[in-house]
Amino acid sequence: MSHETTVPETARADAVGTRDEATLRPVPFRGGGFVHRPLGPVAPIVFLAILALWEIGSRSGFISQIALPAPSEAFGALVDLATSGMLWKHVGASLYRLFVGWTLGSLLGIAVGLAVGLFSLARAGLLPLVSALFPVPKIALLPLFIIWFGIGEGSKVATILFGTFFPTVIATYAGVDNVDRNLIRMGQSFGLSWLSIVRKIIVPGAMPAILSGFRISASIAIVLLVAAEMIGAEFGIGAYILMAGALFALDQLIAGVALLSVLGLCISWLIGKAEKRLLSWRA
């Protein structure tokens, strides 16, 4: 090969301290790439560009009004909803169900997850049950919940509760399992009580896993919220979307979907805030 014949010469030249200036060249840089740069304004630009293209497509007639209403029309439907005073009624009803269902499901999930993580008996008894029930689509159980908890708020809250409960259990017990054993051993070596070890070492140590479980359970909760509100609900974003769909009022349907997106973004932002606060000790 060619470089095998040239390298010894330059190496010898370097060894005696005389440089061959003619062949002197920089070492090629090859360490670039694979690093993400924060590009703040890109996300809104992409979003606005899609909206603009969509609007132009609708106005020029390229996108048929029957297939997809223009974003301005969907926005108009949203304004109508707000001026008629129904916006808050729908959003308020949804937020209430989401809040109660998700909070209860998460609290129960954390409690059961801690039990599974801490006690062998709970692990042996409950974990197979959790594994068996987690994959069951809670929407399929909705008729059952209606019989058990009534057609009103009960069945809707219960659907969300059950939907958020299982992923929270799994996130929590996995978090407990991942707590550094050496920290627990440290706690024992200093004679800390069992409760202190759980409260001061295990729960904070499992917190990152619990919070990332929240992200998943919150998305599941929104999906289930809409499904539950499609049966026997007078108010709620899901009911609004269902009504719009039945009337083929596509502008209202898009407006409802946009509301759900905003709701999802808000929740994700809130969880991000909580992570920043609770996990500030991480780099």
Binding site: S189, F190, W281
Partner: protein, 256 residues
């Protein structure tokens, strides 16, 4: 207070890791335990502090712990074992909180141990903001806070670079000269052993047995100036260990 290890043997599954180990850590004495990797040094230390139960034999203490000792047998860990979500002072506070000490006294104990380990300026820092050496100082401060009778040190300097190790070794010697703590000090670093140990217990490869106990009479504070003599001692310990270490290196390990 004395720590007495009596005929300790231990097995993991089918593998014997420790066999018939007996020695005593006397008041104010640092006993170093050295041995090839996988010889059960850390297991022995866990047994000594009651974190693991020996298969046979017993770890005993004799005599009363010093007045006000909250945790007579106190560990210093290789990986420091600091809670990453607690600041330096709160990490020290952790080990006092279960003893029903009133808040003001707790504050003063924390301030005192942080001052003794030169950490007063770092009280509000999180572990991740500190260098390895500073983290181990925090762990030492935490250990001092419970007024231990005997410190059980599991390779406390092994996770540190060699300059930091020298600095911390000086700190430990200064601390020992002031407080005369007793310690059982596990290490694989023979230099640390001859610098700190009053006695060096040399273990064989698995199953760990006592090969030899080397006594060093030289006062701890003089050792930094008499490195030549220590060098000879260190070589002697190495001669004892060499074959064991070579054999241990070639073993296939199935015990963590």
């Amino acid at each position: 207070m004395q720590l007495v290890l009596q005929n300790i043997s231990h097995r993991y599954g089918g593998t014997t890791v420790l066999e018939d180990i007996s020695f005593t850590v006397d008041d104010g004495e640092i006993v170093c335990i050295v041995g090839p990797s996988g010889c059960g040094k850390s297991t022995l230390l866990r047994i000594a502090g009651g974190l693991e139960q020996p298969g046979a034999g017993a770890a005993l203490i004799s005599g009363a712990p010093p007045e006000g000792s909250l945790n007579p047998l106190t560990y210093i860990f290789q990986d420091f074992a600091l809670l990453p979500w607690r600041t330096v002072e709160d990490n020290v506070s952790l080990v006092l909180e279960d003893h029903g000490i009133e808040r003001r006294e707790r504050r003063s104990i924390i301030a005192d141990v942080l001052a003794r380990t030169n950490l007063a300026d770092f009280a509000k820092a999180l572990p991740r903001q500190l260098s390895g050496g500073m983290r181990q100082r925090v762990a030492i401060a935490r250990a001092l806070a419970v007024k231990p009778a005997i410190m059980l040190m599991d390779e406390p300097l092994s996770a540190l670079d060699s300059q930091t190790r020298e600095l911390l070794m000086d700190d430990l010697i200064a601390l020992w000269s002031r407080e005369r703590f007793s310690a059982c000090y596990v290490t694989h670093n023979l230099n640390e052993a001859v610098r700190l140990g009053r006695r060096i217990v040399v273990l064989s490869r698995r199953p760990g047995r006592i090969r030899e106990v080397v006594e060093i009479d030289m006062p701890l504070t003089e050792r930094a100036a008499r490195l030549g003599e220590l060098e000879t001692l260190q070589r002697r310990v190495w001669e004892i260990m060499r074959e064991e270490a070579r054999e241990a290196d070639r073993e296939i390990s199935d015990v963590a």
